[in-house]
Amino acid sequence: MANTTAICTSFKSEILQAYHNFGTTVTRGGTTADTLKAALYLTTGSVGAGTTAYSATNEVSGTNYSAGGVTVTNATAPTTSGTTAYWTPSAAIVYTTVTLSTAFDTVLLYNSSQSNRAILTYNFGATTVTAGTLTLNMPTNDSTHALIQLN
């Protein structure tokens, strides 16, 4: 076996677990998992790769929806397979008995423990809900289907 050039697979997983801090200021004070949240955005919004943090601008509003969205269930730590690190919320994201009459199409996952820093956005097409439930079912948590993959 020869030496090779690579980003170490363990590093990819450890990024997701905050083992590494390349910045000049240590910003983490605890060792428990962060609280992640999921907020919904109107079709007129512009969240995406350029989003850096949660904002209430263009967030949906309606009956039984609280600004900032709902907490994401995170019971499964990031892991690796082959050279891919991956992670998926461990349960569906559910907004129960909401009325969201203005069309929305995107969910923002963000870290409410770390100044609401953005993690990912996911567009699922224009949607409205009337006195019902919005359920975002997660993909299988493996190296080819997980919600977040670092290849």
Binding site: I7, V129, G132, T135, N137, L147, I148
Partner: protein, 67 residues
């Protein structure tokens, strides 16, 4: 046995409602929309979205591609 559904008009017997569903498939998702109608008015609509595509497949991994 009473089987009532929460709607915009309160709890209504399921037998009084017309229930339909349809599937919408888009880029990276599959969405099932279930509608309950009372006299053609939508009084309840629930949506179930399956997220199908790994997020960031073109973005985040591009900076961590083993090089």
């Amino acid at each position: 046995m009473s089987n009532r559904v929460l709607t915009t008009h309160g709890l209504i017997e399921l037998s009084q409602l017309d229930v339909s569903d349809h599937v919408e498939i888009g880029d990276g998702y599959r969405k099932v929309i279930v509608q309950y109608r009372l006299d053609d008015e939508i009084v309840r609509q629930s949506v179930f979205v399956d997220l199908l595509r790994p997020n960031g497949a073109d973005a985040v991994p591009g900076t961590l591609n083993g090089r």
